[in-house]
């Protein structure tokens, strides 16, 4: 022990013998242990006067049931239910309700204020029953045909009785009612055929009931359709969808439907602000460059510029889709031979590569190749790497490829893809 350690430590240890023993701790340093800060209470101490006021407010807001109210309750609830209600009310301190309780008004508030008479499938736990809840012998077997038909008839009758509590409509019925009745019979019969009570039979009726009881089911039931205000407001049907006039014009231009348009892969690759200097001052607007491709040999590049960011972006997307041009692909994976295109000070070199090579290119060319549906490609940008020019040069290179058939026609020579014709596509 170090000399500098105060003797107080020794005494404190000795004094604490009456307390329960702490878990054995190793001391990792010789310096004095600092006492922890004094614990603050979980609840702020309230003065007696304030407490009195609070009690009064709570009493006034949430008064105890008087006798007239208990008699009214007794008319509706059984004594056990009343006892449960009283127990629940006594469990909640009214003073807490006054100080902390507040009514929620937000749209996401849960419907808490109910009499708990029904099981809410969202909030409440599902009532479940186990094998111990089935009385008697728990044995069942496959039903034979006679038993099966009998039980189907019985179950269908039960279902129909639930559908028509006032009895089956008789006498004069119009065609619509008749049709409805026929549909109900069909539905009841098909439901009864699928019912496990029709497939199995048992001497113990409780076992049969358990087969049909959803509380015995291991499968969680489906959640009900949400019918609150928020869901209703945010729901949007396809007919109510707002039609973008620009998109409508684009669809007319392309002769496509919306589904096809949705399959186009669109990505904005460049965005920056540009300024127009006028004599009135600077006008800032945003520039966007977007690529669009169907990942199957169509590729487009579009530009858009507007003071409104969203407007400019949409402009660029629309023009990219409108500008889509076919990209010839060798074996649907790579380009035909090497390409080189120069735009401004930017030079882009694209090289075709064997299967499985991948897209080993810089990110802009990668995005373009992916949108066009190319899989094997290498590229170099030996000079300037201006983003806009790289994209434009790559697009131009990919869309203006010379095809071997064209070269053969131009030269008046026969050209053969040796890889395909002589080696069956297995040589690279």
């Amino acid at each position: 022990m170090s000399v500098c350690r105060p003797a107080r430590c020794l005494f404190t240890k000795a004094a604490a013998t009456t307390l329960p023993k702490a878990t054995p701790q190793r001391c990792f340093q010789t310096s004095a242990i600092r006492q922890a800060r004094k614990r603050r209470p979980h609840y702020p101490s309230i003065k007696a006067d304030d407490l009195k006021l609070l009690n009064e407010a709570a009493e006034a807001e949430y008064p105890k049931y008087d006798t007239s109210e208990t008699t009214l309750l007794a008319k509706r609830y059984t004594p056990s239910q009343i006892a449960a209600i009283q127990a629940a009310e006594s469990a909640i301190d009214t003073r807490d309700v006054v100080t902390q309780g507040q009514q929620r008004t937000d749209p996401w508030m849960l419907p808490y204020e109910d009499d708990l008479a029904e099981v809410d499938p969202v909030i409440d736990k599902r009532p479940r029953l186990g094998p111990d809840d089935v009385p008697g012998k728990k044995s069942y077997r496959l039903a034979n045909e006679v038993e099966r038909d009998e039980s189907i008839a019985r179950i269908a009758n039960e279902t129909l009785a639930k559908m028509y509590p006032d009895g089956i409509p008789e006498g004069q019925t119009d065609a619509a009612q008749e049709q409805q009745f026929q549909d109900a019979i069909e539905a009841a019969l098909s439901q009864a055929t699928l019912d496990p009570r029709a497939t199995y039979t048992s001497k113990n009726p409780a076992v049969l009931e358990a087969l049909a009881d959803s509380r015995h089911n291991a499968v969680q039931p489906d959640l009900p359709r949400l019918e609150n205000r928020m869901a209703r407001q945010t729901r949007q049907l396809s007919t109510e969808e707002e039609e973008d006039p620009r998109q409508k014009r684009l669809l007319q231009y392309l002769g496509w439907d919306k589904k096809k348009l949705r399959s186009i892969r669109v990505k904005t690759l460049v965005s920056h602000s540009v300024t127009n200097q006028t004599r009135m001052g600077k006008i800032r607007s945003l520039y966007y460059l977007t690529i669009a491709g169907n990942q199957d040999g169509l590729l487009g590049v579009g530009e858009g510029k507007s003071v409104e960011p969203d407007e400019g972006r949409k402009q660029s997307i629309m023009s990219a889709i409108r500008n889509m041009k076919p990209v010839p692909r060798y074996e649907n994976r790579t380009i035909y031979g090497d390409l080189e295109v120069k735009v401004g000070a930017t030079k882009v070199q694209l090289f075709s590569r064997p299967p499985g090579f991948g897209l080993r290119t810089q990110h802009l060319i990668f995005e373009l190749a992916r949108a066009a549906g190319l899989q094997d490609l290498a590229a170099r940008t030996p000079r300037s790497r201006n983003k806009m020019n790289v994209i434009k040069a790559t697009w131009e290179a990919l869309t203006s490829q010379k095809l071997p058939d064209e070269i053969a026609r131009a030269r008046g020579k026969k050209m053969v893809d040796v890889r395909k014709v002589y080696y069956g596509g297995s040589v690279h």
């Binding site: 035909y336 010379k402 070269i407 053969a408 026609r409 131009a410």
Partner: protein, 206 residues
């Protein structure tokens, strides 16, 4: 064999195709003539004509046989196809050309070539397809200061788009390379076929 002149020819052909010229001329040398014929065989050029300082008459402006004569000849050939084979008949006067007598005289367009070799030019017809030149790029492989000789093994690799002996493969679609070999000026693929090597001259692609 001057590669400097060949370099000039290469750049001139590139420029001419950029300017969309239909006919252009280059200085005459054995190398240029053979290379031009090789290019024509590969389909890069439409015509190779030896001429003077004025361009030769284009085919459409040359004197054409009478259409009626042509029809008569076609009918004769249809009836007696064997007349197409050249035949000669030896008579007392000498050798008589039977084909000419039966089918009419062949019209051969004569181009005036200057006697002075220095004034001769080689006229090349350039080709275009769908508004694009067929021959767009023509680059030297060997340089005047650094000749490159390639074996047939090297050429095998090069024609299969791989690099060999510091010469890049023929990776552009429809690219050709011409070499001067013991068997004359040949295309790289022909060299591989015949298993001959040689000095690389230039590479051509559209």
């Amino acid at each position: 064999m001057s590669l400097v002149n060949l370099a000039h020819v290469c750049s001139h052909l590139q420029n001419a195709s950029k300017a969309r010229l239909g006919l252009t001329s280059i200085p005459v040398s054995m190398l240029h003539v053979k290379l031009a014929l090789g290019l024509q065989q590969e389909g890069f050029l439409s015509s190779v004509t030896l001429g003077g300082s004025t361009p030769p008459t284009p085919f459409l402006l040359q004197a054409q046989p009478d259409p009626e004569e042509l029809d008569a000849m076609a009918q004769k050939l249809k009836d007696r196809p064997w007349l197409a084979y050249p035949a000669e008949d030896i008579t007392e006067d000498g050798v008589e050309n039977v084909t000419e007598k039966l089918l009419g005289k062949e019209q051969v367009h004569e181009v005036r070539v200057p006697k002075n070799p220095a004034r001769r030019r080689l006229w090349l017809g350039l080709k275009y397809w769908q508004n694009e030149p067929v021959l767009k790029n023509m680059k030297l492989v060997s340089k005047p200061t650094r000749r490159i000789w390639l074996t047939s093994d090297d050429l095998g690799k090069i024609t299969r788009t791989r690099e060999s002996s510091y010469v890049k493969g023929l990776t552009h679609p429809g690219e050709c390379m011409f070499l001067t070999t013991q068997r004359g000026i040949l295309e790289a693929r022909e060299c591989v076929e015949r298993r001959v090597g040689g000095m690389a001259l230039c590479r051509v692609w559209g």
